[in-house]
Amino acid sequence: MPFEPKEPQKEIKYSEMRIYTDEELNNYTEEELKNFKIKHDIPDLEELEKGPWPSFVSDAKQGALHRRKLADDRMLIDRDVIEDMLGQLQVSFDEGETHWKHGGIVGVFGYGGGVIGRYSDLPEKYPSIAHFHTIRVNQPASKFYNTDFLRTVCDMWEYRGSGLMNLHGSTGDMVLLGTTTEQLEPIFFELTHELGQDIGGSGSNLRTPSCCIGKARCEYALYDTQALCYELTQYYQDELHRPAFPYKFKFKFDGCPNGCVASIARSDMSFIGTWRDDIRIDQEAVKAYVAGEYVPNAGAHAGRDWGKFDIQKEVIDLCPSKCMAYEDGELKIDNKECVRCMHCINVMPRALKPGKDTGVSILLGAKAPILEGAQMATLIVPFMKAEPPYDNIKEFIEKVWEFWMEEGKNRERLGELMQRFGLPKFLEIIGVPPAPHMVKTPRENPYIFWKEEDVPGGWSRDIKDYRARHKR
């Protein structure tokens, strides 16, 4: 095992942890489910049971029936939570407006995030969801689980919450939807003591970091996304739980420029795997692709007849930097001209592999439109080695944070601060030399903010001296 968690983690056995018996878990028949009506009229929701795509309504109804048939002492929040949630959803459809109140500050002692307060604004009509708070549970890197863990979470959450959840929320957490204020601390104690599992981020702190599947099941992973994600999540636990930032801050870890976790669009600090040596070519495998023995693009286009694979048209001509040629049965790549877009590798994964001298590009400042419009991350560090214990990466992170915490206004994301200060000033503050790699083009106006020290003689001049040369 190449990695060890900081604290040894006890193995979870569902058989020892479980709350519910098999009979309780299977307490309804298919027939009962078919005839089951929840206590509210939900015609629009029932319409959403039709069609082939998995219906969240059908699922919610099975949860509601299951709850209805459990004994009174087998759950600690109201039995009707799911039914009331569905009832309120139907009313929201009827009225075209949400019925969840704005905010409400709840949480667990000593943490400033991970729990989101939620209250219904129709508590008389739907009393069981009067309090319906969310708990974000920090998912294991790249979202692999075993069933002992998941089943234990399910029992705990059915007993102390609504039994409704998201796998997963947009930032990556396992999201538990709907419990009362009273149960927040008990749930946190169950999570930490029994499941060895912490909650995630919310508010103005480090949000739960997330990563792609990486080396676990992808040949393109150019650094160990899980290991880096885990290490930084553990190393920055304080920042994750105790808000000290101007606003939210997200790390995301993409193993290659294909960008499966969307770090370039969705994280304040985006780590994207890259390489600096040559693409490895297996010329025999290239020939096999050309001959039609291997299916191009790993079979991803197999649903349509696109004709015979044409390496010139499909690879060479589509190369964005035009650094490839296929001559006399041999593929040539001018690697110093390559921009590592991954297209050729994606099309011929059995013939081409990224280089072996790998690391990360670091890009900063992506965010959704609130407030000044959406931003994509800007390339700041073209290449950095990414090897444990990742001290170089931590040092860079802390330089950026220091600046943002010093200068960032309330609710100002890093990307907005970079815009307000300007990229040149930002680079100077974090001590990164400027490079053409950071811009699409050089500036198109000459309005340079020259500094006094840039200009020989400084800016203090005497008008008399000037007038001695130029009459008024």
């Binding site: 795509w53 699922d59 959803l89 939620r118 863990f149 998941l150 693009n297």
Partner: protein, 395 residues
Amino acid sequence: MALSLERLGKYDPKDPQKNRLTDLGPRHFWQYFPPVIQNNYGNWAYHEVLEPGVLVHVSETGDKVYTVRCGGARFMTVQHVREICEIADKYCDGYVRFTTRNNIEFLVDSEQKLDALKKDLQSRKFVGGSYKFPIGGTGAGVTNIVHTQGYIHCHTPATDASSMVKAIADELFEEFQSMHLPAKVRVSMACCLNMCGAVHCSDIALLGYHRKPPIIDHDVISQVCEIPLAIAACPVGAISPDKTPEGKKTVKIKNERCMFCGNCYTMCQALPLSDKEGDGVTILAGGKLSNRISPPKFSKVVVPWLPNNFPRFPEVVRDVKKILNAYAQDANKYERLGDWAERIGWEKFFEKCGLEFTEHLIDDYRLAYDTWRTSTQFKYTDAAWNVSKAVGGID
């Protein structure tokens, strides 16, 4: 070791610090890898999509792992998760994984185990008739639609999320289960501009949007909000201090400046925006995240507003299909939707998709000029002739 049955469990409200464990972080990932993943970590040689939704990854050692990818609603009950566990126990030695786009992945280490797993997954349906575990979401098709909470659990939405996604996914089910598009098409949904789902770089993005300025709750605003924060929250400076006739502190809003971002409501609960007639759906298209061939790019607004026609959003479904069909027919192999639109020109995009171009689609916010055309390179469409006629350029 067992889960507690006590009402307050291990928590002692008299001494909240007693036995409190903090800063544990997530559980370590390694323990959740099935043996074939542990044994081949970092040694994968190549992969292949065997059929829609089924992948094989081959290791340098020759080991193989087969993955069956299933769509799912990201909103699940514990009963559904337990069913996922039952399948994982039966076929996958108790391991299961979820993708960034809310798909469920079942992994097996031999082809023999694959058939039984697939058959089982395909056979499971909810009593309402929908599939519990539809197989697909790989390659040049439409994979699961990522989305936000909507009316199920959020206080700021301008539409619902789960219902819209269900409506669209039902209609694009064939594209989920096949790979006949020119490239992958990522559809994403966010129920307000806060974009928990950050849909701004998707091939097709569906966005809930308000169209009425906030209503001011004069009676309570000074008690429930920090008025200066509410004023500062407005990016267009539309909010300023005011007094009620009774002399209470409140705010006034220049409605004509408002672009309905809702940031004021996020900061101040006395400024709600939601409204049945005002709220609806904006469609954006042509964004991408990958660096493949062309750099990542933002999605562009192509339909300014459609009504919240619950529960199946027929107008939204119609326009999404228009875009998808035009793209499927016209784009080159490997060409993402945004690359296609740029190659043919956005004027052709509107023509081929049969979408109306209105003044709402011309940027007049920050950096708007960057999107104006400063060239004589264009293609003739009816929209161009309309301009010519309007200015007396042609009869």
